[in-house]
Amino acid sequence: MTTAFIIYKIILVLLVFAVSLGIAAYSTYAERKIAAFLQDRLGPNRAGPFGILQPIADGIKMFMKEEIIPNVSNKFLFVLGPAIGMLTALMTGAVIPWGPNIMWHGESLPLQVTDVNIGVLYLLGVVSIGVYGIMIGGWASNNKYSLLGALRASSQMISYEVAMGIAIVTLIMMTGTLQTSAIAAEQHSFWNGHYFSWNFFKNPLTFLIFFICALAETNRTPFDLPECETELVGGYHTEYSSMKLGFYLFAEYVNMFISSAVMSLFFFGGYNFPFMDKISDPNIVALIGTLVMFAKTLFFVFVFMWIRWTIPRFRYDQLMNLGWKILIPLSLLNLIGTGLGMWGMGKL
């Protein structure tokens, strides 16, 4: 492990950190803009041209707000909650390959913070810890609405993580690896000679299940019951104010960005794009590949918002029905079907 290697990794870590936060900040702006446009409004357009300084104004506002810690709350856990939420949201970006390797002084450098061989498990694990942020925050607030929101969040997470896990198992069966960089490399280019190389075209049903579960995992509409305003005031963050509230709201956007990145990585080829073999310079491939990766990711972020401003939220029993009675059997059938299909094609 040379000094250059460590410096390179530190730069990469800071870049991923900054980009995740930057995109999350501008997701708040995009959300408001898209919401407005879908409702025939203009959205924020006063702070700077087209309102592009709005996230900064929002950030300043959040920091300026009064910091309130309820007397009856568990103060340590109350502060810990949003911190965990934010930490886990930012940790997931570490195993995602953001682009093809770049060549620098004859050395091939991966655009990935760490290429662990159990990257998929790492993602699942960190995302599961994320719910602790919500649970701890909701419980420590000592408020019945917060507690109900936290309970909903955790039960929803548990319900949908099962289906999501099975969908990922199906994916792993197809790819044969838990390494995120290998999953990306397997979907090389767009056409592998006789079929599309992206996993989505091999098994669209897995993507559908994964996508629905990702909506539930990030607490987005139609599964945003933990912060259901009409029933629970603000849900798990009812008692939060100032930047602690900002962290919760922000973590949701970081999670959205990361799960979009994971979806484009798992199912839509990540940084791969058609005719990438025609370009000889690896650095240009890396540049275009990274841009393609971000384009796919931002498209999914858009889809998340598009869904949010289209459909209403599920009722709680509908949510549980969908999770346990439909998605889990469906993903199990999908798993068996994929297995049979692979056996039929002689790939087992």
Binding site: F37, L38, Q39, D40, L42, W306, T310, I311
Partner: protein
């Protein structure tokens, strides 16, 4: 049983079909509709830059008129305050001193005249009550303020400047003009130079 109106409908609680139970076709259809709105013309009017067209008889911020010679028409009779259903108008009357004839049209005038714009409902009853054609509502919009007290408009804001008259002819519909021909309102007529000479002689 015969229904009374024939408008009642039998509610059918039919089982959802398979495609309906899938939800996805309906969700996709909804998403198609919302996406089409992404490119539609926006309904928003960016207010301070652009204003939506208002009626020519719009009832907005009040103005206290001056007559042709620049003297305030208001005589502090208090009929507007009595007429006001929101009790937004208050005034203090004073007597005109010698030499102030060019400032106040009548012998009595309003030393203080205040309208609380937060109370005002812009009904226009003050304008209707005024026998002196002194108060009018205009098509101007009361601007926003940060402090409550700034919404209490005094004479400094209400009386029109001598050199920047506020046009209220749009509020004077044909019916209103016809009504004002009544001899009872002769005192509001255009200033007649001969009449003014006569009044000066009378003094």
């Amino acid at each position: 049983m015969q229904s009374l109106t024939n408008r009642s409908k039998v509610v059918v609680k039919k089982e959802m079909s398979f495609t309906e139970k899938l939800y996805l076709p309906a969700v996709l259809n909804g998403m198609r509709i919302t996406l089409s709105h992404l490119f539609k013309k926006k309904a928003t009017i960016s207010y301070p830059e652009k204003e939506r067209p208002r009626s020519s008889v719009y009832r907005g911020e009040h103005v206290l008129k001056r007559d042709e010679n620049g003297a305030e028409r208001c005589t502090a009779c208090g009929l507007c305050a009595v007429a006001c259903p929101a009790e937004a108008i208050t005034m203090v009357a004073a007597e005109r001193k010698k030499g102030e004839e060019n400032l106040y049209r009548e012998e009595k005038y309003a030393a203080v005249y205040e309208i609380n714009m937060l109370r005002c409902i812009f009904c226009g009853l003050c304008e209707e009550a005024c026998p002196k054609e002194a108060i009018f509502l205009t098509d101007r919009i009361v601007p926003t303020e940060f402090e409550r007290r700034d919404f209490v408009y005094g004479k400094d804001k209400l009386v029109e400047p001598v050199d920047k008259r506020v046009d209220v002819t749009k509020r004077q519909t044909a019916a209103v003009l016809e009504f004002k021909k009544h001899p009872e309102f002769a005192h509001n007529k255009l200033w007649d130079p001969s009449r003014s000479l006569k009044t000066k002689k009378a003094h």
